[in-house]
């Protein structure tokens, strides 16, 4: 009996040793606090960060806050107790996490802001495409589209926002509307789709196309909202090109709509580059080394590091995707992760 037990324990120990990753080679564990997984960008960010961090020697664990600020605060507190090498935070609420960030840094744990810039307190590194900038790029594209249609920049835009409680959509709106102020002949109707629900976006488009049949352009703040908008337009008997469409984030469904002729422009958040930038600077962040300002090449994109009041900040330019460049594998929506490996910044 004793021999059998010993043999069983021996087999279990061997199996455990075989199945356990070789942590000896790892530089440490990094926790990624993702705001939600009900969104293709966020889901993609998990796999991209995991892939790039692995390339530079870090293991990554992910915690999902389900879009709940209080849940994310609790997660931060739990993770601080675990003393990881670093915390990557994509905040549910841009400002509510301030005390948690300060607590983590006070405990000696570096905090990296991913995708959602927090300016109210210093962090060790911030990697963003710039949500306000995404709105501004969208405004540039709207200007081009309206000019091409009317000969001058005028017309009516329906802006389908995301959830009104989400700072991400409010920032895009801010960037978009600030830039569009230059064109007084453009009327913007903004309606939020509660909880980013696609069906809500469909209803908004249905109602607005009846109340304002002269809408020239529909700008949705996420590609999946454009899918619902297209479904509503299709049900109303519209064909691709009858109403111009634009959305932001660069999700695969948005690229599909471009190929089908429904969507004119998708403003991409450079997901891969944003994640790669985090991996490139992770050694410096973990070892608390100085990050020098200047231009860096991140997966072929010219990106700028500046030292802001809230710490080192890398801004990676978003891009406008149209039918001309939709098949470019660099866009994360094509789901072709870069084949090359990232290298830590020396």
């Amino acid at each position: 009996m004793k021999k059998i037990l010993l043999a069983v324990f021996g087999i279990l120990a061997l199996a455990f040793a075989t199945l356990t990753p070789a942590f000896a080679q790892s530089k440490g564990t990094v926790y990624y606090l993702v705001p939600t997984l009900l969104d293709e960008f966020q889901t993609g960010s998990v796999s991209a960060l995991e892939m790039f961090l692995k390339q530079v020697g870090y293991e990554m664990k992910t915690l999902n806050a389900d879009n709940k600020t209080d849940a994310q605060q609790s997660q931060m507190n739990d993770v601080i107790a675990l003393k990881p090498s670093a915390i990557i935070l994509a905040a549910v609420d841009f400002n509510a996490l301030k005390p948690s960030i300060e607590a983590a840094r006070a405990a000696g744990i570096p905090v990296v802001e991913f995708d959602r810039q927090i300016t109210s307190t210093p962090s060790d590194f911030t990697s963003v495409a710039g949500t306000v900038e995404i709105g501004q790029i969208a405004a540039d594209q709207a200007e081009k589209l309206l000019k091409a249609k009317h000969g001058s920049v005028k017309g009516k835009i329906l802006q389908v926002l995301g959830d009104p409680g989400d700072p991400y959509t409010l920032d895009i709106q801010k960037g978009f509307e600030e830039k569009m102020k230059a064109f007084p002949d453009v009327k913007i109707i903004s309606v939020p789709a509660m909880q980013w629900a696609a069906d809500a976006a469909g209803t908004i488009v249905n109602d607005q196309m009846l109340a304002n049949p002269d809408i020239d352009l529909i700008f949705s703040h996420a590609a999946h909202l454009s899918v619902a908008a297209v479904a509503s337009l299709e049900a109303a008997g519209k064909k691709p090109g009858d109403v111009m469409l634009m959305s932001s984030n660069g999700a695969p469904v948005g690229l599909d709509l471009i190929r089908k002729g429904w969507l004119n422009v998708e403003v991409e958040q450079p997901l891969y580059a944003q994640a790669a930038a985090v991996a490139m600077f992770m050694d410096k962040v973990v070892n608390k080394q100085e990050i020098k300002p200047g231009e860096y090449d991140v997966l072929g994109l010219k990106s700028t590091v500046t030292i802001e009041a809230w710490g080192p900040n890398i801004k990676i330019p978003g891009a406008a995707i149209t039918k001309e460049n939709v098949d470019n594998p660099a866009f994360w929506g094509n789901l072709k992760p870069p084949s090359g490996t990232v290298k830590p910044v020396e």
Binding site: V191, D207, L210, A211, A228, D256
Partner: protein, 331 residues
Amino acid sequence: MNPRTRHALEFVLDNLVWFMLVFVLVVFSISIPNYFQLGIFANIIEASSVLGVMSIGLALVIITGHMDLSVESVAALSAMAVGILFCSAGIGLGVQLHPEWLMVPVSLLIALAVGGIIGAINGYLVVKVKMSAFIITLASYIWVRGLVLVISGGRSAQDLAPAIRWFGIQRLLGLPLTAWIAISCFVVFSLIMAKTPFGRHLVMIGGSETATFRAGIRVNRNLVIAFVLAGAIAGLAGWLLAIRTSGATANLGVGLLFNAFAAVVIGGVSLKGGVGTLPGVYAGVLLLSAINTAINLMGLPANFTQVIHGLLVLAAVLLDAFKQTIRQRLA
């Protein structure tokens, strides 16, 4: 009070939510530009399709004096199952059946089965294991939504097969077929509730489970059927949701549960059970949809919707108490 006046008063009390709906429509038509047009009224009916169907299932369970919090997540799971199988973009597998029309009954059966299975699990745990319906269905609300996330990986399925999408595009008398499906459901289930022993038994169970049991009615069996029906009807709502959005996202239908509850309560169904009719629920659904449409057209911040929904529910409860007082005086 003469019998004619009493009869008229009782009619008004019984159909108060319909009068509220007419009043709201008149006010909005007068005060909101572009509201008064057939297209907008068609939109109101169309937008209420999914919520309406979901509210039917929820009302059935609430009338029995129980609760089903899982309907929203069940609808999302059914939509995702249909989306994954019959969408050709995103995570859709693009399953093709020949002849093409076969995809309609197959996708519908899948949606109904997904819902029915979860309804059966809820019903079994509530009735056989004697656990609280609130807790059981709250757990289902959470784990089923989690399952949506697991099977989708957070990604979406898009571009539903044209044969299924046809129901969202094809119109009859200015309304898409999805709206007619919702209306048909209300008619069928209203008749079931009013004209069949099963419907009457559900109301009796809600009134007093013990008395109904002593009257020789199979309470447990009827309760399980009510939960299975609620699940299957939520599955149908998911099928309509997938058609409406031409696919499925992981967050599809988020928030519908609370709107369904609001519609049911505004429609005159008592949360204590034993009271309520499905036509009233439909009026409640249309009322919420009319208000949402008004908010869309006015360009008000969407948060107003929640405030108004909340106040409407409160008004409905107060009206219900007011109705009871008047009825007692009439008696």
